[in-house]
Structure formats: structure tokens, C-alpha cells
Symmetry: C2
Subunit: 432 residues, 2 copies
């Protein structure tokens, strides 16, 4: 049997792309092959992938690989020539959105999509200020990184960004009760609006991931989203929904996670699963917002929306529809949630279980009473799960939330494996 | 014979991606297939592609398509797992650079690469100011678009950007002579440094395309580049070379166009031809610049440097080397330049012919004496060439420069076709 990691691979990697390029797990994996919900390391060991949401349709899906292969052999140019594949794809994609969202501008990455959304919102409104949640992440360019007020170094003291606390219904802020929670968080939005206006920035928009994925899938209190958006719009700003993680059927009930609320965004950004791994992303908005911006900015993106990307994007939509992956996300999501809730009854370190389709957040605490974040146990569970052959990760301001987002073709036997290995890990690391 | 453009395709495109999404030619082409240096429209008509530098190795190169297909069927994840394909590619790529450029951070687009270079330069130097040439273009994100002082709307009144005039040796600035030209342009660099320092921005770097591609392939006067870089470095700034257009052997003599000057950049950005159309790009720098930045910024890019992109990037290097495309760029570049110079002798509207490998700029003027830019004729030549089955474009502050950058596997018969059709166009549109 071959070694699990090639000789010197880690050292060579550190020399060539750096010691700080992020790498998963205490004992990094050398993954060499993927198929469906499975990843395989160099020694041939297989891992259940319960982490990678980019491969929404499963690793190396044959229909998607075939579409990529076919179009790459035909033509791969750009959008400065007419191409029916581009137009057909955008027509099919935009048809999945509610009115008035009827146009698209394509990009290569979620960062580029959020960049474009910010430029569009700032141009359209004539304002600069953006409201985000504290400690979130929307991408790696300067203008997007500065939104990561809790995480990114550029984000300190940025006049045009105001952060509101994550609208968390589990870990209540001091002084708030379940009854006053909506009011509490809405007041933070009003404060942010006033702050941006006082700084002379005005309000260009509220940019949030509707499922608050990076915040740990927190559940905002009832009525928060629509009232927050109403306040932002009243101040002249737009509602920008970042669907990079919540989109393309991840939540099961809807194509786009913002559709769970009774308010339609002005701008939507797409990314990760859009090409099942192929670099593609985009912005969806109405004609009213796209046309004036596009005229002003003369935006062009060399790679974005090329015929190969559009063929891949089309194949992704085919698979989500043909394999009924959204219905599967609903069914398997509910099944796993029940399993997690059963574990929660047994293990008091499980403080909260949250779920949207096939996206799970399991918040680990020192005790039910204190709700004190248990980052150390979270780290240990993630690494122990890896040793047991199941890939998950963690997230949240306090690094104490297990994050699980498997490819959508997850079947019941895969779900059972995930749950049984979690149960073993908790039993081994958290007693009883 | 089918129509050259599908019914309603232009109208559908305008409705779905907008009326301002850039489109080539007065009568847009519907391109459906590519092969080598050829593109084919819907009616089956073939066009010599003398424009698209993204497909450096030729359209749909079988070796590159095979590498894409193979790896897409094996694994397409990200850089948070170890993968030898990623490390092997970066090792091979960085080996093509001069010391001390020995590390890479990969991105999805040239815009992302320039974003990353700016963040790195600003962090490393502790300064904000960037010096660029007037009327250039380095990408579409906010921080990069603001460098386009002459073109991009955000770029007006940006405190941290200072523009110098394009160091043009053909169209001399008022008051300068060939003898004083180096001094004239260097003084502009010193002025920009002083201006940025007076604004409290300091100098983070000079960001230029070493072949001044978007400026019309202008030739800087002797000694300008190395003395400009020395002045910037003395002020604490870095030299950032944008090789998005000049790299990967385009200029024939060197892998990277900056190697034509006796000064090595601190940071190099790569893009367009890196994946022969597959969305990939990157930043090359020394350990001294990458490691501290990477630690500070915790940079991660979901799609960038994935195993498929690295397999494609490797295949591109294979083709450039195995097919000796750089030697071909030298030989065919010289051959076409001679042909263009012959045309210049016959047609006085050709004011200047400039060439670097297989990149050509032909500056059209009203007359030799006035050197007045002839934008109308340039527009007409580009469109007439398209009707004759050869694809070229135009560029420059005055839109009066024919831009030709064919795929590198251009053969002599292709070159002859390009030259003969140019000759016909000039004869038909510019007399004699």
C-alpha cells in the first residue's frame, strides 16, 4: 500500500505557495480522486465528503465532465462574439429568479461577483456605505475584504462599512430576550444606517448571505430580514443577497436561499457551486440596475461567460433538475437533522443544531447552561472525523460550530455513515 | 447554407446580458467553432484569428483539451488538500522566472491577480500610492479599475493613484525631442512620486505592462524602465509587472516581457493565456513579499489553483515548449513586421509599425507630417478585415492603432493571408 502523502509534498508546497496557504486538518490529506460524494487519498483510502459545497452535483459528475469536454473541444472564446450557449444559459438561469431579477453579468469567482455587486450598488444609489454582519466573509479583493470587519485586516476603520451583529437566535445578546430579539437586531440596522449617514457615506446597500452561512447558519428572529431590508431601502440602499453558498438548491426548498423570506433582493451574487468546480460566478439583477451601470462602467471580463463555462453551468442546472437534487436535499436534510437532534439529546456539548437543506451547523458548547463556545472540542471532532473517513469542517466567530455541506446527491447510507461516525466521535471525545 | 447569425440572438443577448456588454464588429459574428488559428461562424465561414491572445496555443488545442478532460474526470477540488499537480505546476512555472521570483499565489483572473498584487504591495511597503500610465487598463475590480485614470469612471480623483503619460517614442510630447525623451518621461515619474508623497499616500509601487500593450505597444525611450523602477524603489515602492498580455512567450525572445529590460520586477501578475482560455491567473513574487502578506491577509481563493486548472496550465507550458512557439513568435513576428513595413512604405496613413514577437501595433494617421490619429480609418480597416475573414482589433488612447495578437502557432501561410488582406483593405480604403 502506498503512503498516504507523497514524499516532501508538504515541504515543496510550503516552499512554492507558502506556509500560510490554508490547508485542512492537523494531518493534511493528499486527495487524488473524487467520485460522487467520495474523495480518495493517495493510499486509496476513501472519505465521505460532507464538506465541499462547490461540487454541488457530486465530484466529477459524468454529465458535467462530458459537457466541459465537448465544449472545450468546440470553442472557448469570450462574450465579444455572439454565442447561443451563453444566451441560452443566462435565459435558463435568470428564469429561476423572481421578478424583477431578469438579467445577468457573469464573472469568474464569487469575489468578482461581490465586487461587481458593490460597484453596481454604489453607482446606482450614489452612496458608498455598505452594511454587513460582523465577522463575515464575502471574498478576497480589497473592496470585498474590507467588508470582513471582524476577520480581514483591511477592514479596520473603513468609513464606508458598518457591521451589525449576527442576528443570532441561539446565543442571545446581553439584554435581549426571545420576545425583544427582532427589535434588538433591527435597532442595530437603524444604528448602522445612522452611522453611515453621519459619516457622509449614505447607504448603498445591505449585503448578507441569506442563510448566514459563514456566521454558522444562524436563524434570524421572525420578521428581521424583511424589516431590515425595508429600513435599508428607505435610506436609499439596495438589498444584495450573497447566494455563493446558499444558492443552486443547497437549501432544498428553494433555488435561492433568499426565497425563504418574503422580500426579493435587488442584486444577487452567485459563485461556488455554479460550475461544480469550474471557475464561474455571476451577478443577477434587474434591467433597471444592470443597464445604467454597464453603460457607465464599460464592464468586461475576459474569461467570464465563455462558451465552456456556460456549457458547464447548463449541465449543472440539468443535474440539479434531472436528479431532483433539491427534493433530495429536503429529504436527506430532514433525516440528518433528526439524527443530529438525537445526538444532541445524548451529548450535552451539542448546544444547537441548525439545518437548511443539506447545510448543517452544530454548535458545540462547554455546557447547555453556560453556552460557552467549545472551540477545542470542535477542532478535535473535525480532525477525529477525518481520521474516521468523513470530511467536515468548522466555522463561526468562536470556531465552535461544526460545518457540514455535502454534495447534494447524498444518499441515506451516506447520511447514516456521517451520523454514526459523528456519534462515535462524540462518544470518544465528549464522554457518556 | 445557414444564416451567419441565429434568429433573434442579438436581441436575446441584449435582453439577458445587456445592451452595453461589449461586442466586436459593426456586424457581430456568431462564432461556433475554433481550431488552431481559425474560428468558424454559424454559416461555416472561416476566419483567421489574428486577435485572440488568450488562446496562446491555438483554439481547442488537443493536448490542452485532453489534460482538462482527464483531470476533470479525476478530481477538481481546491488547494486546501495537498495535490502534487498543484505543486508540480507551480514549481515548473516559477522556474521560468529570474531570481528572486520563486513563489506563486494563484487566482482565477487577471483582475484578481492585479488585486492581489496591489494588496501585497500596499501591505509590504506600508504605502498606498500606485503609479500607472495614463489611459491604461489592468482589470475590472474597484481597486484595479481606479488605476484606469483615463478610462474608468471610478478613477477620477483617486488620491492614491498617480498617472504618468505613456512613454511613447513615436508621438513625442510637446517640448520633448528624441534626445530629451528619457529625461522628459523620467521627470513625470519623479513628479508622480512627489505628488503621491505630498498627498500623504507614499509610493507602494509602479504597475505597468512592460510592453505597454493597452497603450498601443509603445516603445519607451532607452533607459526609461530601469531608471523609473530605480526612482520608485528609492521612494520605497515596488515594481509590479503586469504580464497578463506580454507573458507566456508572446514576445518570443523571453517568457516574460519584463525580461527585455535589465530590471527584475518585485511582483509579476499573470492572466489571459495561462490556461489557453480556462479561467486561471496568478501572482509571482519572492518569499520575502509573499509570506508576510499571506500570513497577514489569510488569503484563500476557492477556485484558484485547483487540480484541473493546474493540469491545464501544465499542458499550456508543454505546448509552448514542445511546439517551440517562442521561436515561432520570433520568426513569424519578424516576417510580419517586414510585411507591415512594406505596407507602410506604400500607404502614408501607416504612421508607425511596432512589434514584439507575435504582437503588432500599426498606428494610423491622417498624414506622416501631422501624425494626427486616424480613428475613423482604423475602425473601417478593422471591420473591413472582418468582412475579408481576418479578425483584428484596435486600441490606444486615440483608438487609431490596429491591434494584432494571433495565437502563437501562426504559420507563414497564415501570415501571408493576414498581410495580403491588410494590403487589400488599405488599397480599398486608403487609396493608391
Amino acid at each position: 500500500m502506498s503512503a498516504a502523502v507523497s514524499d516532501n509534498l508538504l515541504e515543496r508546497r510550503q516552499r512554492l505557495i507558502g506556509r500560510h496557504a490554508p490547508l485542512f486538518y492537523d494531518e493534511p490529506l493528499e486527495i487524488v480522486r473524487g467520485e460522487g460524494v467520495w474523495l480518495f487519498d493517495k493510499a486509496g483510502r476513501q472519505y465521505l465528503d460532507a464538506y465541499n459545497n462547490v461540487v454541488q452535483c457530486g465530484h466529477c459528475h459524468p454529465h458535467i465532465v462530458a459537457a466541459l469536454t465537448h465544449q472545450a473541444g468546440q470553442l472557448n472564446t469570450h462574450t465579444r462574439y455572439l454565442h447561443s450557449g451563453i444566451v441560452d444559459y443566462v435565459e435558463r438561469l435568470t428564469a429561476l429568479f423572481d421578478a424583477p431579477l431578469d438579467m445577468a453579468m457573469l464573472t469568474c469567482s464569487g469575489s468578482e461577483a461581490n465586487e461587481l455587486a458593490l460597484r453596481m450598488a454604489r453607482y446606482t444609489t450614489g452612496h458608498q456605505g455598505i452594511i454587513v454582519t460582523d465577522c463575515t466573509y464575502h471574498g478576497n479583493t480589497e473592496a470585498v475584504a474590507e467588508l470582513g470587519t471582524g476577520l480581514m485586516p483591511e477592514a479596520q476603520h473603513v468609513e464606508r462599512v458598518a457591521a451589525i451583529p449576527v442576528p443570532d437566535s441561539f446565543r442571545l445578546p446581553s439584554g435581549a430576550t426571545p420576545d425583544t430579539l427582532t427589535h434588538y437586531y433591527l435597532q442595530k440596522v437603524h444604528d448602522a444606517i445612522a452611522e453611515l449617514q453621519a459619516r457622509g457615506m449614505g447607504v448603498a446597500g445591505l449585503l448578507v448571505c441569506p442563510i448566514f452561512a459563514n456566521e454558522g447558519l444562524v436563524e434570524p428572529p421572525p420578521g428581521f430580514m424583511e424589516q431590515a431590508v425595508a429600513a435599508v431601502r428607505k435610506a436609499g440602499g439596495l438589498y444584495i443577497a450573497d447566494e455563493v453558498q446558499g444558492g443552486f438548491g443547497r437549501t432544498g426548498d428553494h433555488w435561492w436561499s433568499h426565497q425563504a423570506y418574503p422580500v426579493t433582493p435587488d442584486i444577487v451574487t452567485l459563485g461556488k457551486p455554479m460550475g461544480n468546480g469550474h471557475p464561474m460566478a455571476g451577478v443577477i439583477a434587474s434591467r433597471e440596475h444592470i443597464e445604467p451601470f454597464s453603460e457607465w462602467a464599460t464592464y468586461f471580463n475576459t474569461f467570464a461567460g465563455n462558451p465552456v463555462s456556460c456549457a458547464v453551468g447548463t449541465a449543472v442546472l440539468d443535474v440539479i433538475e434531472d436528479e431532483q437534487l433539491m427534493a433530495n436535499a429536503v429529504a436527506m436534510g430532514a433525516y440528518i437533522r433528526e439524527g443530529l437532534q438525537t445526538l444532541q439529546q445524548r451529548f450535552p456539548v451539542i448546544g444547537d443544531v441548525r439545518q437548511k437543506g443539506l447545510f448543517f451547523a452544530v454548535e458545540l458548547v462547554a455546557s447547555r447552561e453556560s453556552q460557552a463556545p467549545n472551540a477545542a472540542l470542535t477542532h478535535d471532532i473535525v480532525n477525529h472525523m477525518c481520521r474516521k473517513g468523513v470530511l467536515i469542517s468548522r466555522i463561526g466567530v468562536n470556531n465552535n460550530i461544526l460545518k457540514m455541506r455535502p454534495p447534494l446527491p447524498l444518499r441515506r447510507d451516506h447520511a447514516d455513515l456521517l451520523l454514526s461516525q459523528l456519534e462515535s466521535c462524540f462518544a470518544e471525545l465528549a464522554g457518556t
